[in-house]
């Protein structure tokens, strides 16, 4: 059965202010969607709320993943169900190597399936990691470095995609994966994502700019304004942005751009 992420009339607050004001969106395995919006429209809030960041308060609606309402589930449970978030700003965790971290993540999945599981063996894990790193053209010395600590912007985003490749989610949300990347880094990261896209992966690319969509081509495009999806369509929807930015959307929906 094809899994789906269904967002139904989702409302959320940040520090008491309403940011999401009724988002509806469904992403199925095998589909690639783009969610575009100007600053302050609620893109990153949506990404964080989907993954269950405790700093965000959901005030209404539902998030159904693979038939289960996940709103009350902890982030780790959501992850083990098959949801993945590539962070806009991956957190540095000095002292924990990328390899050690990934092994913990794999073992958490295995123990979830079988509480007596002894964990992935070191040779098996090494093979898996080397295999994924080669596939994504990531240098192997990455594995021994502390997680995101001292990583360049491009390295951080590549490490996110590596985690996605190892964890094999059903639905992945990429939160502004293009931000802070130069064109070469963007091409490398996007080609990594493209290698993972297929019938068993659904992707939601969240972005401000059209640029990344030249590399990761979505079948569906949605425009988020002021906490709601105001338009949905095919790739042609991005053409308007190419020429005029978000201005026509602000005018059409009677909204004022936010400052940040």
């Amino acid at each position: 059965m094809v899994a789906a992420l269904e967002i139904r009339n989702l409302h959320a607050n940040v520090e008491g202010s309403p940011i999401l004001k009724g988002v509806n969106l469904t992403i199925k395995q095998g589909e690639t969607h783009a969610l575009m919006g100007p600053n302050g429209s609620g893109k990153s809030t949506l990404a964080n709320v989907l993954m269950g960041n405790p700093a965000y308060e959901v005030t209404g609606g539902q998030i159904i993943f693979d038939g289960v309402d996940i709103l009350d589930l902890e982030p780790d449970v959501r992850s083990r169900l098959g949801l993945f978030l590539a962070f806009q700003y991956p957190v540095a965790i000095p002292g924990v190597t990328l390899a050690n971290f990934l092994r913990s993540a794999i073992n958490a999945r295995r123990r979830d399936q079988n509480p007596d599981d002894k964990g992935i063996s070191i040779p098996e894990f090494r093979r898996l990691l080397v295999d994924k790193m080669q596939y994504l053209e990531i240098s192997q010395d990455f594995a021994g470095r502390y997680l995101n600590d001292g990583f360049s912007g491009g390295e951080k985003k590549r490490a996110e995609i590596l985690q996605m490749a190892v964890l094999q989610p059903k639905i992945a949300v990429l939160d502004e994966t293009d931000s802070g990347l130069d064109i070469d880094a963007l091409r490398i990261v996007a080609s990594g994502v493209n290698r993972l896209v297929g019938p068993s992966l659904g992707v939601l690319v969240i972005t401000h700019y059209k640029r990344i969509l030249d590399y990761i081509q979505p079948q569906h495009v949605h425009i988020l304004m002021d906490g709601r999806i105001v338009e949905s369509g095919g790739p042609e929807l991005t053409d308007v942005l190419e020429t005029s930015g978000y201005k026509p959307f602000f005018e059409k929906y009677g909204l004022v751009p936010t400052e940040d």
Binding site: G52, P54, E74, P94, G95, F101
Partner: protein, 447 residues
Amino acid sequence: MTVSAARTRTPAAPELALADVEGLIKLNNEPRWLAERRRAAWELYEALPMPSTSDEAWRRTDYRRIRWAQAGSLLRPDGAADLKVIPAEHYAPLLGDRQGGLVACVDSSVAARELDAALAAKGVIFTDLNTAVREHGDLVEKFLMTQAVKPEDGKFAALHAALWTHGVFLYVPRGVTVELPLHSVFYPVSAGMSLGHILVVLEDGADVTYMHEYASLDREEQAAYVGATEILVGEGARLRYVALQNWAGNLYEFSHQRARVQRDGALDWVIGAMGGKLVKTFMELDLDGQGSSGRMSGLYFADGSQHMDHDTQQNHNAPNTTSDLLFKGALLDKARSVWQGMIYVDPVAQKTDGFQANRNLLLSSEARADSIPGLEIKADDVRCTHAATISKLDEEPLFYLMSRGIPRREAEKLAVDGFFGPIMERIPFEGVRERLQASIEAKLLGD
């Protein structure tokens, strides 16, 4: 006048007497110099008051709950002990199946005393302290509590000098490099007081790695350990010294540790503190020779109602000396830690580079850490910096770890591993790191 200790500020003293000192002298058939030192120290001990919370160094450490009736009875050496009493991990070889030597004591009795024959042939001495007094009396007389820890350093230092029960003596002659690490362990199993001494002497140009472990059998009755560690690093000598403490929860530790480093010598000193009911340790580093350097690294993790107090001092007594101290601690439940550190720079110690940092991680709202850095600088051309922090685990990294499927408790463990990482990587033995990691995990996961 008899006043109950509970109602006064002054803690009670253990029920010990000069007869205990004489008993040890007789039991070990000790030479005159040692007997005289013990008696003089006993006199000093009797003259000093028990330290109390009105003394600055003890202000945050109240040990009045110790029951000396149990913890204060002297555990005298009693023939040979059985090594098998000690869990094997504490004396297993440090590198694969190899180590250069092993000294093990159960209570105050010797359970193992081994040294690689090739090292012995080079003049290396690695034995228990009572044996060293008999076989290498001149050396022990020269170095024992004469240069580093001295009886007058405090009440417990005097008590130790009067009544030390057992110890380790490591002596590396001039220019000798010891390739294989040396290993020792003190393992009290009885209620009562043991007083262990570690005396390490590196002559000029010597080079050695040494690891000592403190652990004990868990039991209802209280125990006390009154220790002293002395480290003398000669000119151009290099010592890597790791001391790992994992006492059972019934033990109170009071100890003085001091290292002196001569010209161009280098000391890399790592301590780990996991166990004990209450631990009060004075650690002092003296950079006596020009160009000498010392790194002091500490890791402590207290849970339950544990109390750990580390009082560190970095003395720059000569020009061009470098000291670098990093102590990191985590606290769970109602545990409490104290770190008080001082860098002293003598007027002659120009071009000194001194650093100290203490970082604490509070893992419970009821835990408490006190962190008191200090500088006393009497030279003008120096660089000295310090830092002290007390913080909680950030939610942001935990969310990140959890978003990859790692449950909260494990995410917290990873974050704590990360916190201790910089100290952990200064321990040169993989097996020891793994054991330390396992005891950290056991505390965090509440096993």
